[in-house]
C-alpha cells in the first residue's frame, strides 16, 4: 500500500515535471474561475461583471500572471460590484482592503492567495485546510494572510446584507448604515475565534515540524487538526459561538488528509534508516541525525508483442520477428535522467554515480518543483539543518558556504 502510494507520488511528480507549463496555468485558471464565480455569486450586484465572458477573461489573465494578480483582480471585481450597489459601501470596502494590506498582507505577499482561498473554500467548509497546508509549507507569517482571508469571508456576508438595504444617500442614513456594519463586524465573535484558531494551527504545525523527532511532519499535521477541532470546541463552550461539531470534525479530518497529501508530495523520509554520526571541526562538535529521503523507482514497463506468426505470416515479417527469441519485445523509453544515484536500476547508461558526486542536487526534479509549492528550497534547507554536515549519497547535502566564500 505504502509502496503503491510512493510509486504514485513518483509518477505524479514526473507528470508534473513534464507538464508543469500546462498544469500551472491550468490550476491558476481553475482557481480564478472559482474565485470570480464566488464573488459574482456572493455580491454580484453589477450584471455587467457577472457575465461568463468576463469571468473567463479574468481567469485566463490570471492563468499566465503571478498569484498576486488574482488577488488584485478579485479585490477590484468585488469593489466594482459593491460600487454598483452603494458608493459609500465601496469606499468602506476599499478602506478595509487598504487597512488589511497596510497592517497585514504586506508582510506575507507570497501567501496572498490564502486570502482568497479561505472565502472560496469556506463555501464548502473546507477552509480549515488552508492553515493546515500553510503550516506545512510556510512560516507563521502566513497567518497574516489567513487573517485577511477570514476577515473577507465573514465581512462579505455583512456587506451583501448592507448593500441590499435601499437607502437614500443622506448623511443620517449613511451613518446609520455604517454604524450597523461596524456593529455587525465588531460583534462577529465567530470571525475573531476563527482568526485566532487558524493562527494557532499554523504556529502549532510550524513549531512541531521543526522538531527533530521521528515522523515530526505527519505528527505536526495531526497536532494542527487537533488544535483546530479543540479551538472551535472551546470557542463553542466558552464564548457561545455556534459550531456544528460533526461538520467541524469531519471537515477538519478531510483537511488533515489534504495537508498530509501535500506533505507527502513535498517529502517522504525513511525513519527506519536514520543515521547518527558525530564529528568535529575546529569550531564545533557535531551531533548529526540524517534521515534519508525515500526515492522509489518506477518499474519499467515491458511491452511484449505475442505475434502468432503461424497463423499470419505477414505479421511475422511486420513485427520484425527474428526467429530466435520467440517473440518480439521492446522497452518503453522513459526519460529517467532525473533519477538520483539510488535509482540505479532505471538509470540510462550515459549517467553514472559519479555524475552526481560532490552533493550536487539531483537537479531538475526537486529544484524545478520548488517554485510551485511541491517542494521548496526553504524546505530543503530546513531539512539540511536537521541533517547538516552529511554528504552521503541519498541524503540531503548542505552546500552552504562560509562568509569568506561570498
Amino acid at each position: 500500500m505504502i509502496m503503491k502510494l510512493l510509486e504514485l507520488r513518483t509518477i505524479l511528480l514526473k507528470i508534473y515535471q513534464k507538464a508543469r507549463f500546462i498544469i500551472n496555468p491550468l490550476v491558476k485558471f481553475v482557481l480564478g474561475l472559482f474565485v470570480f464565480n464566488w464573488i459574482n455569486d456572493s455580491i454580484g450586484f453589477d450584471p455587467r461583471f457577472t457575465s461568463k465572458l468576463i469571468t473567463l477573461l479574468l481567469s485566463a489573465v490570471c492563468a499566465v500572471t503571478p498569484g498576486g494578480v488574482l488577488v488584485f483582480f478579485a479585490m477590484v471585481l468585488s469593489l466594482l460590484h459593491v460600487f454598483a450597489a452603494s458608493k459609500f459601501l465601496a469606499a468602506l470596502l476599499l478602506a478595509a482592503y487598504a487597512i488589511l494590506y497596510g497592517f497585514l498582507m504586506r508582510f506575507s505577499p507570497k501567501q496572498a492567495i490564502a486570502a482568497v482561498a479561505i472565502p472560496v473554500l469556506g463555501k464548502y467548509n473546507l477552509h480549515y485546510c488552508v492553515p493546515l497546508v500553510l503550516g506545512c509549507i510556510s512560516t507563521p507569517l502566513s497567518a497574516l494572510a489567513c487573517i485577511c482571508g477570514v476577515f473577507i469571508y465573514y465581512t462579505m456576508d455583512i456587506v451583501k446584507i448592507a448593500a441590499t438595504r435601499q437607502i437614500e444617500m443622506n448623511l443620517d442614513d449613511i451613518l446609520q448604515l455604517y454604524t450597523d456594519i461596524a456593529d455587525a463586524v465588531m460583534a462577529n465573535k465567530q470571525m475573531y475565534i476563527t482568526m485566532i484558531v487558524f493562527t494557532l494551527v499554523i504556529v502549532a504545525i510550524f513549531l512541531i515540524r521543526k522538531l527533530s523527532f521521528d515522523y515530526a511532519f505527519i505528527i505536526s499535521v495531526g497536532a494542527g487538526v487537533v488544535t483546530n477541532i479543540l479551538g472551535f470546541l472551546i470557542a463553542d463552550l466558552r464564548f457561545n459561538v455556534t459550531v456544528n461539531v460533526g461538520k467541524l470534525i469531519l471537515m477538519s479530518l478531510i483537511s488533515g488528509v489534504i495537508a498530509c497529501l501535500v506533505e507527502l508530495m513535498k517529502r517522504v523520509l525513511d525513519y527506519s534508516a536514520i543515521e547518527r554520526v558525530q564529528f568535529e571541526d575546529d569550531d564545533y562538535y557535531y551531533y548529526v541525525k540524517a534521515v534519508p529521503k525515500v526515492n522509489v523507482s518506477i518499474p519499467r514497463h515491458n511491452v511484449k508483442h505475442m505475434s502468432d506468426y503461424g497463423d499470419n505470416p505477414d505479421e511475422e515479417e511486420y513485427s520484425g520477428y527474428d526467429g530466435d527469441a520467440g517473440n518480439d519485445s521492446y522497452e518503453e523509453e522513459d526519460d529517467y535522467s532525473y533519477c538520483d544515484s539510488s535509482d540505479s536500476d532505471v538509470r540510462y547508461e550515459e549517467f553514472d554515480e559519479n555524475d552526481f558526486s560532490e552533493g550536487e542536487k539531483v537537479e531538475y526534479d526537486d529544484e524545478d518543483l520548488s517554485e510551485y509549492g511541491i517542494r521548496s528550497i526553504d524546505a530543503d534547507e530546513d531539512e539540511t539543518e536537521q541533517t547538516k554536515g552529511t554528504s552521503d549519497e541519498g541524503y540531503e547535502v548542505d552546500m552552504t558556504l562560509d562568509d569568506t566564500d561570498v
Binding site: 478602506a95 487598504a98 487597512i99 497596510g102 524545478d368 558556504l401 561570498v406
Partner: protein, 148 residues
C-alpha cells in the same frame, strides 16, 4: 565539445537566477542596514496610511457622539490617545520589520554564497579550457566520467 560539468553548473546557475536569485541578487546591491532601513521606511508609510484610515473609520463610527459633544470634548487627551496608540503600533511594526528584514537579508546572503561558489567553479572550468586551448594543459576534464 560539450563540457558536462559546465553545462550542469550553468543550468543550476540559470535556475537559481530565474527564481530566488532574482530577489537575492537585487538584495545584494544593498548593505544589510540600508536594506532593513528601506523596508522600515516602507512599513512606516504603509502603517501610517492604514492607521489614518482606522482613525477615520473610528471617528466616523463615533460621529454622532462627536457632533453632540463638539464643544465639550477634550481634544487634547483625544489627540494624545491617538498619537500614543500610533507610536505604540508603529514601534511594534518597526522593530518587527527591522528584525524580519535583517534575518531575510542574512538568509539571502547565504544562498548567494552558494551561487558565488558555483560561479567560481564555472570560472575555473573556463580557465581549464583556456589553458587547454592555449596548449598549456594536455588534458581537461569534460565531466563525462568523473562528474566534478
Amino acid at each position: 565539445m560539450l563540457n558536462n560539468r559546465k553545462v550542469r553548473l550553468m543550468t543550476q546557475l540559470a535556475i537559481y537566477e530565474k527564481r530566488q536569485g532574482k530577489e537575492d541578487i537585487k538584495l545584494s546591491k544593498y548593505f544589510k542596514s540600508d536594506y532593513a532601513r528601506l523596508n522600515v521606511l516602507k512599513t512606516a508609510i504603509m502603517v501610517t496610511i492604514a492607521y489614518v484610515l482606522v482613525v477615520a473609520l473610528v471617528l466616523l463610527y463615533k460621529f454622532e457622539y462627536l457632533l453632540d459633544n463638539v464643544l465639550t470634548l477634550d481634544y487634547a487627551s483625544m489627540g494624545k490617545s491617538i498619537l500614543g496608540f500610533y507610536i505604540g503600533v508603529m514601534a511594534v511594526y518597526l522593530i518587527a520589520t527591522m528584525l524580519g528584514y535583517s534575518l531575510s537579508y542574512t538568509r539571502s546572503h547565504k544562498k548567494l554564497g552558494k551561487y558565488f561558489r558555483m560561479l567560481r567553479k564555472l570560472k575555473d572550468i573556463y580557465n581549464e579550457e583556456d589553458s587547454y586551448a592555449a596548449g598549456n594543459a594536455a588534458y581537461y576534464d569534460e565531466g563525462e566520467d568523473s562528474g566534478q
